[in-house]
């Protein structure tokens, strides 16, 4: 069916706007900062084969891969005829979704002329999903069963009627139930909104025209992505890097090995030589590997276009079962996303020889978060979560950005200092750029940050530092950036380095100091413009000593 290009453009704008609209509604009425502040969620429209019609902008890039997988599981279970108007499905199953269980998918069928034509879906990070520790990301787990409740494609509403049994199971088994159920309500409302809008569009243009328009949009998007890959020289490109550990055995590094094959307009990411799955919780399911490959692919091909199914058609991945990024059950998945920034950076590094004018040096490479839990004087539990940035790698044409969240985190925002101090028993003594953390290079790596928490009451700290051993690498002759670190400084002055640790007790007066990694440098430091070196010294990004050491001059 040929389709009027004008209808295509109208449909394209509309379906993207609906996804954004769902995201806005969810974000504004959510109950936990992982959604409203960290934007750890996504919303979109999925077709009846599990393909992505549209997804919201902003939010987490690594959620590129997986609304479809979740919806497909429900379609297989119920059949398209097995859905009724008013059904709402809840899904977070570890094996299928491949992520930590806090990421709960809610979706609802969209009906048009009596048939299911699509699903509006949203995935959001719940503040707690039960399990052995408060919140998420305990480093102690070895099996998914320790990490909380699992729902595999269950109907939490059937034809508009709430499943009270399931609702109560959730209420009784998660911490901060008020927040979890609030987020659940917000997710359901977002899906209903998406379905209402999509239904209106179908009514206006007819289901045949809309479907044809979507197919055209996918084809066009695919063609644009292929046009970019076709320009990359054919070849097999490889790179390797290392993660610190699996969260439990802290002195065994994990090998990240990727092979990228460019063949005409096709790109294959081969993870066959990746580390095997690990006993600790840094595994992900298949969707982890898929997400990493997709983020790298999207950054290279169509960084500005809205996301849809067509974006990724030229991309294939090879990912055997039993690997770190495609773990078999009952692997623990609590820290599923921790390897992903490094995996993405490694894919980019592999392609650096082919795309020297596009690929930056490595960025800070971890997810940059911390959390503190405890009890308020009135007995209520609190959980403070924050995510903060670090340095990005020097780029082919300019310095790396400083203090920015990882490549997996997009529109994720740090929590305001004033907000944290207002709501939690901590004093933040310092939040600053970390001098000399950016890797030296013609284009310097961006700076990491320093952040100091002083406890004002008893609390338990969770730290998940990664890349504390292997620094963000330089490229094209640039030097590496500084590694991530976290130091616990007791009130008595004693210090202890923390790598990955769960529920570390803190007493009033104890400090936890985070220093995030800087980006690697791009290009030979000796080629850096002396005026830039002088400016770095004047502004304090680089100390005089480091300037002399790394660049052989202080710019004066």
């Amino acid at each position: 069916m040929t389709i009027n290009p004008i209808t295509v453009e109208v449909v394209r704008n509309a379906v993207n706007a609906y996804a954004d609209e769902m995201a806005n509604a969810l974000c504004k009425s959510a109950y936990n900062m992982m959604i409203y502040e960290v934007r750890d969620f996504c919303c979109g429209l999925i077709d009846t084969q599990g393909r992505m019609i549209s997804q919201n902008r902003g939010g987490l890039p690594i959620f590129l891969a997986d609304l479809g997988i979740a919806v497909k599981d429900g379609i297989e279970r119920y059949g398209l005829d097995g859905f009724a108007l008013g059904d709402v499905i809840i899904m977070n199953h570890g094996l299928v979704c491949g992520q930590h269980l806090n990421n709960v998918v809610i979706y609802a069928p969209c009906f048009h002329e009596g048939r299911v034509v699509a699903f509006a879906a949203s995935r959001a990070h719940w503040v707690d999903i039960g399990g052995s520790r408060v919140g998420f990301g305990s480093v102690e787990t070895t099996e998914i069963y320790q990490e909380g409740l699992q729902f595999r494609s269950l109907k939490i509403y059937e034809a508009g009627k709430r499943n009270e049994t399931l609702w109560q199971i959730i209420r009784d088994n998660v911490r901060f139930a008020e927040a979890a159920l609030g987020d659940l309500r917000a997710q359901i409302a977002a899906c209903q909104l998406g379905n209402r809008r999509y239904g209106e569009l179908l009514k206006r243009y007819g289901s045949g025209a809309v479907t044809a328009a979507i197919a055209t949009i996918w084809d066009n998007t695919e063609r644009e992505a292929r046009a970019f890959i076709a320009k990359v020289p054919d070849g097999v490109y490889e790179a390797e890097s290392f993660l610190d550990n699996d969260g439990r055995t802290l002195d065994v590094k994990l090998r990240i090995k990727v092979r990228v094959i460019i063949d005409g307009s096709r790109m294959v990411v081969d993870f066959s030589d990746m580390n095997d799955q690990v006993p600790g919780p840094t595994n992900s399911g298949y969707s982890g590997g898929l997400a990493a490959a997709r983020v790298a692919f999207k950054c290279l091909t169509l960084p500005h276009a809205p996301v849809n199914e067509g974006c990724f058609r030229p991309l294939e991945i090879i990912l055997p079962e039993g690997k770190l990024l495609n773990a078999r059950p009952p692997a623990a998945l609590g820290l599923w996303s921790i390897p992903l920034p490094t995996v993405i950076d490694t894919i980019l590094k592999a392609l650096a020889p082919a795309l020297p004018d596009r690929i930056p040096a490595a960025h800070k490479g971890d997810m940059g978060g911390c959390s503190f839990s405890g009890f308020r004087p009135d007995g209520r539990r609190f959980l403070l979560m924050n995510i903060f940035g670090g340095g990005w790698g020097g780029r082919p044409r300019e310095d790396g950005e400083s203090a920015s969240v990882s490549i997996c985190q997009g529109d994720v925002r740090n929590a305001p200092v004033e907000l944290q101090e207002m709501q939690y028993p901590f004093l933040i003594e310092r939040f600053a750029l970390r001098q000399d953390s950016g890797g030296a290079g013609r284009h310097r790596g961006g700076l990491g940050v320093e952040l100091t928490y002083r406890a004002l009451a008893r609390a338990l700290a969770n730290v998940n530092c990664e890349r504390t051993k292997d620094p963000p690498w330089g490229l094209y002759g640039g030097k590496p950036g500084a590694v991530n670190e976290a130091v616990l400084m007791r009130r008595d002055g004693s210090e202890q380095k923390l790598l990955k640790a769960t529920s570390v007790p803190m007493a009033p007066g104890d400090r936890l100091i985070f220093r995030t990694a800087g980006g690697g440098g791009g290009g030979d430091p000796r080629q850096r413009d002396p005026r830039k070196i002088a400016d770095d010294v004047a502004k304090g990004y680089v100390s005089i000593e480091a300037a002399r050491r790394e660049y052989g001059c202080d710019g004066r």
């Binding site: 959510a30 109950y31 985190q409 997009g410 907000l419 939040f431």
Partner: protein, 684 residues
Amino acid sequence: MSIVGIDIGGTFTDLVGYQNGVVVTAKTLTVPADPTVGAATALSLAGCDAQSIRELLHGSTIAINTVLERSGARTALITTEGFRDVYALGRGNRPDAFNLDFRRPRPLVPRDLTFEISERMNAAGEVLRPIDADAVAKLGRQLEALGVEAAAICFLHSYANPAHEIVAGDVLRRLCPHIFVTMSHEILREFREYERTSTTALNGYVGPRVARYLTRFEEFARAAKFSGQIAIMRSNGGTMSIAEARRQPVAMMESGPVAGMIGAAHLARLLDIKQAIGFDMGGTTAKTALINDGVLPIEEGYVIGDAFTGQPMQLPVVDIVEVGAGGGSIAWIDNNGGLHVGPVSAGADPGPVCYGRGGEQPTVTDADLLLGRLNGNRFLGGGMTLDGAGAQAALAKLGDGAGLDALTTALGIATIADGAMSLAVRAVSVNRGVDPRDTALIAFGGAGPLHAVAIAREIAIPKVVIPKLPGNFSALGMLMAEWRQDFVRTLIGELDRLEPVRVAQAFADLRDAGIAALKRDGLSGGTFNFAADLRYRGQEHTIAVAVAGPDDLVGAPAAAETRRRFNAQHDRRYGHAAPDQSIEIVNLRLTVTLPRIDDAISRWLSTPWEAEPAAPAERRAVVYADPARPVEALILWRPGLAAGVEAKGPAVIEEPNSTTFVPPGDRAVIDPWGNIVIALSERE
């Protein structure tokens, strides 16, 4: 006795005045080197006698352009010790998520002009470390030596207790009288250190240049023998004195786009439209706002410049959604043969192809001309002839790339532009839980009335209103702006568990601040409206709910009413509510307004319409749905249409600065006040 509004934009300087019972207008080119020259030209074109002008209202893009061009003052930033980088760190986010070449917002103050002072408050406003006044004095001398023109002071938790900022500000103002000093708590007393710092820095950065400009404007007015009041438009839809604009230049930031919406709000009240959507289509963008009960919607916070890399400004602005589609938006074909419109605009120079000023890429205006909807001989009242052949050739050339003929391409461009603009209208209506079938679209701006009905049809708005003087409606709206100032105090707690003393204190503080602001401008009286930012416990985002006084937050029965209204608003906006959950308050807000003494323009809007002698109707072929079958449209001259006259579409209603298109089947009528009211026919 007269009043005059002058809006100096990037391209045109617009004037609307009311003198001796007559409305006068003028439009002239802006003179960037000295904008007051354009203002003088406009006054003389309109035949205004400056001596008789009682009040001059002025809107200017000076503040926002200073930021966009980064041409502001050498500004220093002073922070709490340990937080020198608060402004550079920002929120750490990368909204442009897949862009490896992303950029974070670039601070307006460089790190080597950012200084820490030893001091610290906690969130309760208690002093943890006293401020070192000697260190501030020493810093002051350093700033002078560095040639700093402006200093912005923003300390942690100063919203809770500004004492340290006041100490620092007093020292600097005393020691360095030539430095323009801004303290964050004077601009806003609301938590979130990055956004508050950015707002304070913006004020400092634009301050000296805006002050010089305002001085120049005053001189111009004095030289023209003007002896009345000057009022400056601000982003919240109100006005302020020149003195206040010097103190708080950041409040001028969005003074341009709001004025038209003020006019739309007045019209909504006059016509008793409960839910109106203001729609302003200019050359580069289209702007929309939802107007409930004739009240302008206000949003707390805004980004100056690009959404990804711009500067946050945490002050109230009229909540306007903008899309990059206007008369000058350029149409283009992508590699797949897909047709797109905008966001690049041909602007006024070279402008659309049909302007004949060197433009080669076809725009929405070119499409409108080719479709016969726009009359090439009556553009700007006949002041400019449009080149139809040029437009046709450019559209034919563009269409070749997609296998479309010129007319089909033109129709496609109009349809795509309408689709994009209808998304903006949707963003302020359906996206907020408003059913468009219960609204009316009030359309203005030179091109607005041409596209309004198509947009209304797209999302099922049944009624479109085209006001008088739609092409000059923004300058007109300015003449109805009230004096207005907004205040905020962070006040955290649980509804009906708040300490009554704290609540009473917060109300009293705000009231005192409002009275002081009135007094500074030599005013008294005023209307005081309070609102509380509420949310369910655990949520972050809030909804502002109107409250009358402390009792609405602490007394049991009234607080229950506040709770009920919050639940209802939450349900309407987000589709769910939780009536059994605790509700938190975050901020208390106050808006002080002073109604205009002079309501000449609102009276003019509500005066019975008197038409000129009718001009003979003409007929012309206009393309509507099918390029192969143009429809024969009635062509009418608006000034000659008396109240009650009806026109059934297809019709084109022309007037000096605008054109209204009434599609087949729809029906336009001139209402008793001279507005065109179009009822859309029902059809699938």
